[in-house]
């Protein structure tokens, strides 16, 4: 359990390096640092000297039908060896096909074929990296007629079969629940507690017909409520605030991370739902979170 952190963004590099603000941990976008040298790596050296980090990727394209790129995995492994993140995560999605990259997080059909495909690839990645990874649920704007199960059944099955962790993005659940008219509470209640290692919290924008995962607004009340529900169910899980556009002063990010801390503290004192009690008790005992973290650091 790393605690409550924020995504490290360029706008705050100097502030973080020069003032060393109070913060439990930072998450960094892996691809921003998979470079030969220069300012990004210099910044990461400075940040890592004072804080734990986790590496979060956007281009592994675990759901693509293109072969995984050996060069990408090598770079990711080398970066991890150098900076020793608590864990490495990426998205349950595809980002390109046919050797082309869309630089976007596209959803998969929730099918047995996709499960087999993604599980095999996660195993390949975990073998290459020598550690388990986390997969994150994405916000989506389209769903497929071919799907034969819910998103939470899909991600749960993959996590179980690939033996990987889950980075549960609470905002993404809220966005996709609106866009596809499913029950966000049902999602939170169904995800296997022992797999959830990290949360993402972020803002989105409302386009009337759909919500867009823009990371350019404060976390909304409904997402905080979902987070509270997750906190009750999953126990102590590291939480991370993402903000990628219209990025505010660092202090506001820190306040948002503190709010996550406070909500968890309150939720931990609140009696749990009876129906969840047994699983909740289990989740704090054997969530796999500390174990997974330890494995990652090993």
């Amino acid at each position: 359990m790393l605690g409550y952190g924020v995504g490290l963004r360029r706008q705050h590099y100097s502030h973080v390096l020069e003032t060393c603000p109070k913060m439990d941990w930072f998450e960094v976008i892996s691809e921003n640092f998979m470079v030969a040298g220069g300012r990004p790596l210099e910044v990461l050296e400075g940040v890592r000297a004072n804080y734990p980090i986790a590496m979060h990727g956007v281009s592994m394209s675990i759901g693509s039908t293109d072969p995984l790129r050996p060069s990408y995995l090598r770079q990711l492994r080398d970066l991890a060896r150098r900076f020793e993140p608590a864990w490495i995560s990426d998205h349950l999605c595809w980002t390109g096909v046919g050797g082309r990259n869309l630089h976007d997080l596209l959803p998969l059909p929730y099918t047995e074929e996709a499960i087999r495909h993604v599980v095999a690839r996660i195993r390949q990645v975990q073998d290459a990296l020598g550690r388990p990874i986390l997969i994150e649920n994405v916000s989506s704007y389209m769903a497929f007629a071919a799907s034969t199960m819910t998103e939470w059944e899909f991600i749960s099955a993959i996590a179980a079969e690939a033996d990987c962790g889950i980075l549960l993005d609470i905002n993404n659940i809220f966005v996709s629940a609106f866009n596809h008219r499913f029950d966000a509470h049902q999602y939170i209640d169904a995800v296997p507690a022992e797999r959830v290692v990290q949360y993402h919290l972020a803002g989105h924008s409302d386009h009337g017909t759909h919500l867009l995962d823009t990371h350019d607004h404060p976390v909304c009340d409904e997402v905080w409520a979902l987070y509270e529900r997750a906190a009750r169910r999953f126990g102590a899980v590291s939480a991370l605030v993402e903000w990628d556009d219209h990025i505010p002063e660092f202090a506001e990010l820190a306040q948002t991370a503190d709010r996550a801390r406070t909500i968890f503290a309150t939720a931990a004192r609140t009696p749990k739902h009876d129906s969840l009690k047994n699983r909740d008790a289990d989740s704090t005992e054997k969530t796999g979170k500390p174990a997974l973290s330890a494995d990652h650091r090993a």
Binding site: P40, L41, S59, G63, T65, R100
Partner: protein
Amino acid sequence: MPTRLKKLESLLYRLITAPSGVAEGIAAERDLGPGGGLDAIVLGDDRLSAEARVDIYADMYFYRLLDALKEDFPATLAVLGDSDNFHNLVTGYLLEYPPTEPSISCCGRYLAVYLRDHPAREDAPFIADLARLERAIVEVFLGPDAAALEADSLHALAPADWPAIKLRLQPSAQILALQWRVSELLRAVEEQRPWKPAEQGAVKVLVWRRNARVFYRDLEEAEAAALEAVSRGAAFAKICEIVAADDHTQDPVAAMNRMLARWLSDGLLMGG
């Protein structure tokens, strides 16, 4: 091979990147046909049709890359104008050079090449060279690290050793051979001053990094020739010969000393 998944991903890729939009992309798909065949694949509802849902991804694809290219090519953007011109440039560029690399910082790798034969050159004939310099700045910013050569380590050399020593440029440094003098234009844009069109004239531009900051400057002929010799691995004696042979050099020894002192203070040479 998950054939159904591959077919789905390939179809969505084609629709998202269709040159004239998703609707025309759908029309061009023989398997889908005009009768709303996409609805059999992507679920639509009363709020958003299947096509509108794919359209969201098409918009995000284009505008994410447009924003990335605006950030990496601020002077090219300033010259073309933040309007249809740059938008249309990017539309055409992405069709010819769609992104293939995991990092979005690679998306502008071929913009200067694309601009070589682009109609934008009619009004701004220097535009390809300008884009080349801007791209070099991105590459140098992310290029490999190496410790800088310290003046003290040269001072310690015995005089007899000087002719044979081989200086080395920082591995991230680049020397560009351009046909237009675009450095001043770029500097004006960076400093938010009014810019003037670049003048025609062959010039070598040095782009390098010191303490994580990228710098660039036009090189005089003698210095360009000397640095190119350094990058080819020439011995110091050969570099001195090159400087001495330059018609514009009055005092070769003083010129070489000035150059070497500047290279050292700029952190341009690699130590170790």
